[in-house]
Symmetry: C2
Subunit: 79 residues, 2 copies
DNA sequence: TCATTATCCCCTCTATAAAGGGAAAAATTA
DNA sequence: TAATTTTTCCCTTTATAGAGGGGATAATGA
């Protein structure tokens, strides 16, 4: 990730007008998890991170030198 | 994530010519974690996912309607 | 075909993520 | 400045991720 996850979360939460507690409840996680995420002090589980990103309308993507080749194979796999 | 994480990992590992065990050792995680990751049966910790992505030269990125605004603020924060 | 290598799928044990509570500190707002 | 809201940071308990071992099955290739 080019940018700090904590900064991304904080920015999007503030822009959404949510408190940590509200975000936590919407995502179905504990308030301390949101706090920890915004303060770089948790080794969070992916599924919980994804719940939070979903609430904030943030989508994860990946970049790699093999991405084009991967996408090509994905299309072929459909047939 | 638009695509299944398991597919992305598997594709990149194969292209790298690594076995599950080799990938696990390079990433400093257990072999069962790699197996579980490629078979959608683990709620992996973010730090361990990042270790594996790093070995495979995959970078995570995010997309959101607020991304441009976020990037602009990041630049301003430097000054 | 036989041997080698890789994957799959069990198991147990340990470390720790996460929930939930609470209360002080900090920030907002009236 | 006082009141309210939000954030920070403790705590304990519970659930589960992950390590490591082992063995059966599947795939690769000599």
């Amino acid at each position: 990730m080019r940018y700090k996850l904590s900064d991304i979360i904080l920015f999007h939460r503030k822009r959404s007008g949510l408190t940590q507690l509200e975000l936590a409840e919407l995502a179905g996680v504990g308030k301390n998890l949101v706090y920890g995420l915004e303060n770089d002090q948790e080794s969070i589980r992916l599924e919980n991170l994804l719940k939070i990103l979903w609430v904030l309308n943030i989508e994860l993507d990946f970049q790699s030198p093999l991405k084009e080749a991967f996408l090509k194979e994905q299309v072929n796999a459909d047939r």
